[in-house]
């Protein structure tokens, strides 16, 4: 279970997103966000047998080759 953000931190995140949602909808999204935070933590877990530098330098899957068509 990832460390969860506070309600105040969530409000900052939500304001930054700039979506006009009703309070009830926002509360539902707030509840669902807890599961997303767990996902974000999983994605940040380094690969097995990887040191910090290698983890930071890992290539994303969207790296492209220059000769490919846009």
């Amino acid at each position: 279970m990832a460390e969860q953000i506070t309600d105040a931190e969530f409000e900052v995140l939500f304001r930054r997103a700039g979506l006009a949602l009703a309070p009830a909808q926002r509360a539902e999204v707030r509840a669902a966000w807890r599961a997303v935070q767990d996902m974000l933590a999983r994605n940040r877990a380094p690969a097995p047998d990887t040191d910090e530098v290698a983890a930071a330098s890992a290539e994303p899957a969207v790296t492209f080759a220059a000769e490919s068509r846009p």
Binding site: L13, F14, A17, G18, L19, A20, L21, Q25, R26, E28, V29, A32, W33, A35, V36, D38, M39, L40, R42, N43, R44, A47, A58, E59, P60, A61, V62, T63, S68, R69, P70
Partner: protein, 463 residues
């Protein structure tokens, strides 16, 4: 016409002048008329379908059939753009959207001679659903209309299972072909990323989106995919490589194939129902008896693939919908709006960390499957739940079995392995390495012919 033929059977009979495409189309339209008031598989039925079938029949009489899809009634998920015909994404947002061009795959299927009967229900923009607050109701499962079809190619799953069409198109970003195929008791293939053009298919998340077919049998999926596949310069992800003849070796069986069972996916990461497990074990025993070599294989945990896949999906989907979500979020159904709001909260770093994880997961999958031809696991955890019991945030609660192969881009085939305690279908998922759809069809076809599941059709009440 009472029995519903497969595409392969219908093609043989049309070629032998033993089946009229016009009568076949009439029979499908009759089933739509009788059943769709209850199943809601169609958003729109094409008024010109009979005239189109008549024209195809006249051409075939003069020139012979173009191929196995000539005169075959199909329909398209309503995210496939159709020139002059509304393409809504099952959403109020695009309720009046009438494309000027056909999607590449729509055009290719039309050129193959198919008769297009209409546009099919989907979850809103292939993500938000099942929803009851959209302009059209959600599709219902023909095996029991109180139950879910899975999504998002829900209309295609329902329409094929009920025999309203012989095959249809779907899209798969996290399992949207393979899920409905599993819960509706039919076959569906998500091809390799890049095999089938996505041009003209409304995007959900471009690096995970795949177009592909659903049909009653594995062989019919091969026939449909043959027409849909191939390089398309309009799709930047399209693979520029020749498309093999998917049916050339379909009868060769599984002798000599090496199959890895991803047991931890369906036994511990997300334990599947007893009927689903029994189906997988039965399939494994069948493949072994037919000469395949089986062993267990360990991939990274299912939850790791899901975390990676869903974060990428939500981020890319919000980028697609940002303008509309900011302008008027009230146009979306509650489910889609909530999911898009999650995507809006993600940061660029969140997205890139998921894309880094994706490369790692692909590398680990390649290494684990180095000496294997196919992988075997579940497609869904069990039978279809009741439609009113589907959790709104289900994709966040338990990891699904399908998104790992959207993350890797590997092809996956779902097919029926029997029926559970509730009388609804259960299924397995076979996965191959990139561009080895031929092996999926070989294994799936061999299993399907050896088991009686294709002899049983749902009998939904008229309504």
């Amino acid at each position: 016409m009472s029995a519903i033929p497969t595409i392969a059977e219908a093609a043989r009979r049309i070629a032998a002048r033993d089946l009229s495409p016009l009568e076949l189309t009439r029979a499908c339209l009759g089933r739509i008329r009788r059943l769709d008031g209850r199943l809601h598989a169609f958003l729109r039925v094409e008024e010109g379908a009979l005239a189109a079938a008549r024209a195809v029949e006249a051409r075939i009489a003069k020139e012979g059939p173009r191929g196995p899809l000539d005169g075959i009634p199909i329909a398209h998920k309503d995210i496939y753009e159709t020139a002059g015909i509304p393409t809504t994404g099952h959403s109020r947002v695009l309720r009046h959207h009438v494309p000027r061009w056909d999607a590449t795959t729509v055009r290719r299927l039309a050129e193959a001679g198919t008769v297009m009967l209409g546009k099919l229900a989907t979850h809103e923009f292939a993500f938000g659903g099942p929803s009851f607050d959209l302009p059209w109701p959600p599709a219902r499962n023909p095996w029991n209309p109180e139950h879910f079809t899975a999504g998002s190619s829900s209309g295609t799953g329902a329409a094929v299972a009920a025999g309203m069409i012989l095959g249809g198109t779907g899209s798969d970003t996290g399992g949207s072909i393979r899920g409905p195929a599993a819960l509706c008791g039919i076959a569906g293939i998500k091809p390799t990323y890049g095999l089938c053009s996505r041009a003209g298919v409304l995007p959900l998340a471009q690096t995970l989106d795949h177009a592909g077919p659903l049909a009653w049998t594995v062989e019919d999926c091969a026939i449909l995919l043959q027409a849909m596949a191939g390089h398309d310069p309009e799709d930047p992800a399209s693979a520029d490589r020749p498309v093999p003849d998917f049916r050339a070796g379909i009868g060769q069986g599984v002798k000599g194939l090496r199959i890895g069972v991803i047991r931890h996916f369906h036994e511990t990461d997300h334990p599947a129902s007893p009927a689903t497990l029994k189906g997988i074990e039965d399939a494994a025993a069948f493949f072994r008896a037919e000469g395949a070599a089986l062993r267990d294989v360990a991939l990274p945990p299912l939850a790791d693939f899901n975390a990676c896949g869903w974060v990428i999906l939500m981020a890319e989907a919000f980028a697609v919908h940002e303008t509309w979500m900011r302008r008027d979020p009230g146009l979306y159904g509650e489910s889609m709006r909530g999911r898009m709001a999650l995507g809006a909260l993600l940061t660029a770093a969140d997205y890139m960390q998921a894309q880094k994880k994706r490369r790692e997961l692909i590398a680990r999958t390649v290494a684990a499957a180095q000496d294997l031809d196919l992988l075997l696991t579940a497609a869904q955890p069990g039978e279809a739940p009741r439609l009113d019991a589907v959790p709104k945030w289900g994709f966040l609660e338990k990891p699904n079995f399908t998104i790992p192969f959207n993350v890797t881009g590997w092809p996956g085939l779902t097919l029926c392995t029997g029926f559970g305690e509730g009388g609804l279908p259960v299924a397995m998922q076979l996965v191959a390495k990139p561009f080895r759809e031929d092996l999926l069809f070989r294994a799936g076809h061999a299993y399907e012919r050896a088991r009686p599941w294709r002899d049983r059709r749902p009998m939904p009440a008229e309504g």
